[in-house]
């Protein structure tokens, strides 16, 4: 492999990994803090992509559409937590799986009613729709670089929120002792609603941000859901740091798997998961 191609694959790996991180971090937060297995998490990624498609068409500007889409996603998250999810906290995982699986079906049906079953595309924002030449005949699209930069900024923002703010302290405290948090005068119901909405917004944001480089199509959430669960399991359930490391590992494994081992490309990610779980059954940053 020559250096330019290698470099491009590294950039692709990072970009895919970081986008995956946005989806998986929400999943791991919701599972680690609230104890909810949310199968509908991939649907939020899909909803994001369709929102980007519609809102970009409506508003005309991708970035404004992104901002509006985040607002919509937060509202969906708040409403969904209030309507459905809050009844699941004290229930067995089986109920959570059944109910959130039901949500997938509902979201897919709504998607079909609202947008139909065609494949759509979102145009790359014109300001970033050019490429940096790497060699005479290889170049890399600037929008993809911007995507990675935005994901990194969001990851840094999440680190700050969780590690440095009082809200983050309450969130971390809530993951170990719900009753004690309440007895300190903190409204845990509201805290959970905020965390859930944050997770929904992150997944939807990833769907929106990724929409110009992938197409917008039915069932796109399910693919992402499975890989995101792989990320959460590898990284250690509940660990945002673990999700970042695992998402990048998956990004590299998937991208380079397709280049170096095309015959088994579909398996590489799962082989990696199996290997890591053999080494650390609780995941890289998971607690035993």
């Amino acid at each position: 492999m020559d250096t330019a191609i290698f470099f491009i694959q590294v950039l692709n790996s990072v970009q895919y990994g970081l986008l995956l991180f946005l989806v998986a971090s929400g999943l791991t937060l919701i599972f680690g803090i609230m104890g909810i297995i949310n199968l509908a998490h991939g649907s939020f990624y899909m909803i994001g992509a369709y929102l980007a498609f519609s809102l970009t068409g409506l508003i005309g500007d991708f970035w404004l559409a992104l901002a509006a889409g985040v607002v919509v996603a937060v509202l969906i998250g708040l409403a969904l937590e209030w309507l459905v999810i809050r009844f699941l906290y004290d229930r067995d995982h089986l109920y959570q799986v059944l109910l959130t699986y039901g949500l997938i079906l509902i979201f897919e049906e709504c998607r079909s009613l609202l947008w139909g079953d065609d494949v759509h595309g979102v145009p790359v924002p014109p300001a970033l729709d050019f490429s940096i030449p790497l060699t005479e005949n290889l170049s890399y699209q600037v929008f993809r670089v911007a995507m990675s930069a935005i994901c990194l900024a969001l990851a840094a923002g999440m680190y700050w929120l969780i590690q440095k703010t009082r809200l983050g302290m309450m969130i971390r405290a809530g993951s170990v002792n719900r009753e004690m948090v309440q007895s300190l005068g903190i409204n845990i119901g509201l805290l959970y609603r905020v965390v859930f909405a944050l997770g929904v917004a992150l997944a939807a944001f990833a769907g929106m941000l990724g929409s110009p480089v992938s197409s917008v199509f039915p069932g796109m959430g399910n693919q992402v859901l499975i890989v995101s669960f792989v990320v959460v399991v590898i990284g250690g359930i509940g660990s945002v740091k673990g999700a970042l490391v695992a998402a990048l590992a998956i990004g590299f494994a998937d991208t380079f798997g397709k280049v170096l081992l095309p015959q088994i490309a579909g398996m590489v990610v799962y082989l990696l998961m199996a290997a890591i779980l053999l080494w650390r059954p609780q995941g890289i940053f998971g607690k035993a």
């Binding site: 309450m170 002792n177 309440q182 300190l184 005068g185 903190i186």
Partner: protein, 237 residues
């Protein structure tokens, strides 16, 4: 008695089918210190958890400063000025000592800001040395100080201490008692549950003894000291 802070009347609380509290009354005046005594399994913790809203009573009322708090959420009751230091401490091991202290800091229900981080660290100099440590790295005594310090950061009107010296070395336990005395002198009402009846009695104004979910004895601290019969009958010491 001074103004009434907490007034619980006729509390009946069940765990499933077991009838744990059988009509308990408890009145706590502002700044008053009350010892809640009784052998294990007599309903002391259940009574405390009912008052702070973590367990619901089937019958009876809880009023805090005259406001009905019987069906209030636990976080609302905490915001009315009731702080709880649970048995087994309840620190957050995944947060640093500093984070444990500041996460719930707020002015009291009457807007009081007496307890700041500085004052808590003055009261617990051991914690000041361990600010960057994880809560889980502390010794048992330090964890207990952290829980009490964290409760004080909410500027409460009432501090409930459930088995605060459980499992601590006598020297550390004495340190805790000194601090509880200081808290009491600062005008915060306290409810103390502890196996060391003599220590409790030396701090409190009044004591209650629970037997099988009922109050069987209630009287001023001075009285209990001269009633070995009560000790023997209800506390087994």
């Amino acid at each position: 008695m001074s103004e009434l802070l907490v007034e619980a009347t006729g509390l009946h609380t069940y765990y499933g089918s077991s009838h744990v509290l059988r009509g308990v009354d408890l009145r706590i005046g502002c700044g008053e210190s009350i010892g809640l005594m009784g052998r294990n399994g007599m309903g002391k913790t259940t009574l405390l958890r009912t008052i702070i809203g973590l367990v619901r009573s089937r019958e009876g009322r809880v009023r805090i400063r005259g406001r009905d708090a019987t069906r209030e959420a636990a976080h609302r009751i905490a915001r009315m000025g009731v702080a709880y230091v649970p048995e087994g401490r309840g620190i957050f091991p995944n947060l640093s000592v500093h984070e444990n202290l500041i996460m719930a800091a707020r002015p009291g229900s009457e807007g009081r800001r007496d307890w700041t981080l500085e004052r808590v660290l003055e009261t617990f100099p051991r914690l000041a040395e361990r600010m960057r440590h994880g809560g889980g790295q502390l010794s048992g005594g330090e964890q207990q100080m952290l829980t009490i310090g964290r409760a004080l950061m909410t500027n409460p009107e009432l501090l409930i201490l459930d088995e605060a010296t459980e499992g601590l070395a006598p020297k550390i336990a004495r340190e805790i008692w000194t601090i509880v005395r200081k808290v009491r002198e600062s005008g915060i009402a306290t409810v103390i549950v502890d196996k060391n009846f003599a220590a409790v009695n030396s701090i409190t104004d009044r004591n209650l003894i629970l037997v099988k979910g009922e109050v069987v004895y209630e009287g001023p601290a001075a009285e209990l000291r001269e009633r070995p019969d009560v000790h023997q009958r209800y506390l087994g010491v």
